[in-house]
Assembly symmetry: none
Homo-oligomer: 225 residues x 4
């Protein structure tokens, strides 16, 4: 079975100054940025504010990041990494495999991260200003979709001829459900999320195999790869 952290293969390959980061400081900067974003939104994030609160000279920010945009991007990258782990773990740990259980596990994992990394939601759902971030998140959604798609196909949950766009749409649409759920309720409206699971399941089951609907109990699974 796939190892527990395959979704985001990208190791940081940023421009020069970023290479030799002084770990501690960089982490503090990201934490501060996350807080500020949660408090005031991405649009109001300023280098000065970060520097002041992180107790770092403004000019030093540019030792670790090429520009402001890169700070936000680094933040997103960090949080998304966490999300990847959660998803992979949750899916891996599943006993009975079915479209429903996979969707549910994935969405619960997302919820968990959104919940304790609020800045991520703020950036991703509300402040779509930063082009790099957008690209990155879109890209990530695609990766998640691809991962899940392959997983589900390999496991015999989806019919082999299913269009990959189906998975992508599922992920994107699930994302919007979260957006609605967290907008109404800071810790995620449970009722909305449950309905969202239903929604994604309803869609995907259109492309599911009978086993994908009925569920594959542990023990009787095809060996993958």
């Amino acid at each position: 079975m796939t190892p527990a952290r395959p979704l985001n293969g990208s190791t940081s390959r940023r421009r020069l100054p970023t290479q030799h980061r002084s770990r501690e400081r960089v982490e503090r900067i990201l934490d501060v940025a996350a807080d500020l974003i949660t408090e005031h939104g991405v649009a109001d994030l300023s280098t000065r504010a970060i520097a002041t609160r992180a107790d770092v000279p403004v000019a030093s920010l540019y030792q670790y990041f090429a520009d402001k945009e890169e700070i936000v991007l680094a933040l997103v990258e960090r949080d998304i990494g966490e999300m990847d782990e959660q998803v992979a773990q949750a899916v891996t740990a599943l006993e009975t495999l079915s479209v429903r259980t996979v969707v549910e596990a994935t969405m619960r994992a997302f919820v968990a991260v959104y919940h304790h990394r609020p800045a991520f939601g703020v950036i991703w759902w509300h402040d779509r200003t930063n082009a790099a971030v957008m690209r990155f998140c879109r890209q990530h959604n695609k990766q998640v979709a691809k991962y899940l798609f392959e997983f589900a196909t390999n496991a015999g949950l989806l019919r082999p001829d299913t269009d990959p766009i189906v998975a992508e749409l599922g992920v994107e649409v699930g994302d919007r459900v979260f957006q609605v759920a967290f907008e109404q309720n800071l810790s995620g409206d449970k009722h909305v999320i449950d309905e969202g699971v239903e929604l994604v399941v309803a869609y995907l089951e259109r492309y599911a195999t009978p086993a994908g609907i009925a569920g594959i109990p542990p023990g009787s699974r095809r060996v993958e790869e």
Copy 2:
């Protein structure tokens, strides 16, 4: 049946200066703003840029709008009005009524507007910076959902006990589908949109009556209200 423009009842009740607009100029300002937003995004929209391109002194902007935010809001209001008309018309014109036909008609109407009012998509999907706009759009989505929900319930397409959140989620999720579709293709990826229709239909049919699935031919409809 409901008349052809019921979704947005709000008559413009802006602050004083906005009342006596010099129509022509205001329209030009909105057009320019729309262009600039399409080109650079809402976040980079500046009063100066609008004024310059619309060939209007910056100070005059404030004759027609209380502040920058209101310009964007007015723009959205204008476009959304158009959307409302399209939706109501499309649904009203339907011959056979079913969950599928209603969803399809609605989504096609949305697509039509997104297509020739690109600024609207940019604002609504990408730059979630403007609080007033956000509120307005959210509100609008709710209105659309409510309208469709009542329409479908009255027509006997949805089971009477269906939770209204279902319609809201359907609209929101459809919205995201458009976002994906227009992001990949400036005039809206047709394949994605088709899949999106499928997605929303799949979800809503879970709550549909048999007639809602099979379709109600013209002539045999219940008379509403």
Copy 3:
């Protein structure tokens, strides 16, 4: 004895537009200006604010006043007229005449006006921005000083060779006492005012005749004029 309103002989001799004022409106404008000044200070007084609150088009302000400055000036003129009346009345009504009784009567009269015309205090003490107003008030203080000086000299309270500057300084200094008194307490710190009377009396008595100190009872006065 001098009639009850001699201090400010100036009849309004303003530029043309001011001549044909529509009384009612002008009064409302002045009242509104007074309120706004009391609330926000002269520096923050704006034509728009006046116009809005007085329910008069901004442009119409310029029918009655040449410019903003003139509005303030008219306001001051109006209030100062009231002050003159009060002073003349108070002094005229005096039974026993002495430096002390005259000073006291005058200062009490000032206090009365400052008390129910708060805008006047705000303009005169705090916002010394308006040149015309400054000139006007200075001028008025001189007139009051002159009036009192002549009154006191005629009544035999001050030695005939006394320098008129003495009276001017007395008035100015009394004015500052009020400023201090009203700054600490919106309705005028009584203790401070009492001390202020003492202060002015102490100074003026240096130039007083024995009768000016002892007091001239009613009946035994020299007939004036």
Copy 4:
């Protein structure tokens, strides 16, 4: 006897940017601000004007001062420091101590500063727009009053039971005398100032001890503290 600079104990404790001032530039900015204020008044002081004349980018102003208000405040602080020194020196240097000599020494010291720091007078007497400045100056007057009051009481010039408000009123009223004196004559009308001294002395002598009136020659003074 008290050391020569006790009136204003406050060591500059401004917000961060002000800490590491580039001395020369800051001084130039203050000088320019002083000139502009002398020329056009505080109300018309603009950051742009300061920047232009000081040959400093507007943005740089904000390196040294938090905002415009702080520039004026710094200016006043600087001038007032000078005034404190002068007063303390003059009083300390006095040979014969009496109410009259102390008042005279103090007032002469004020005159000296007003004379070669004209901006100070303009700010303090004419443009009462800046709240921080007002607070500061009022506060300063109180400090001066307190200092002189204690000095005079300790020296046995005033009766021990004298109300401190007496000293405050003396200072305020003296201040107004200067205002009148400098308004009529840019270098301070000598006659008015002399009369002003007389005025303050007349008032304070009402609370003086016999020695405070007669004067205490050098050598026979009480040792203080």
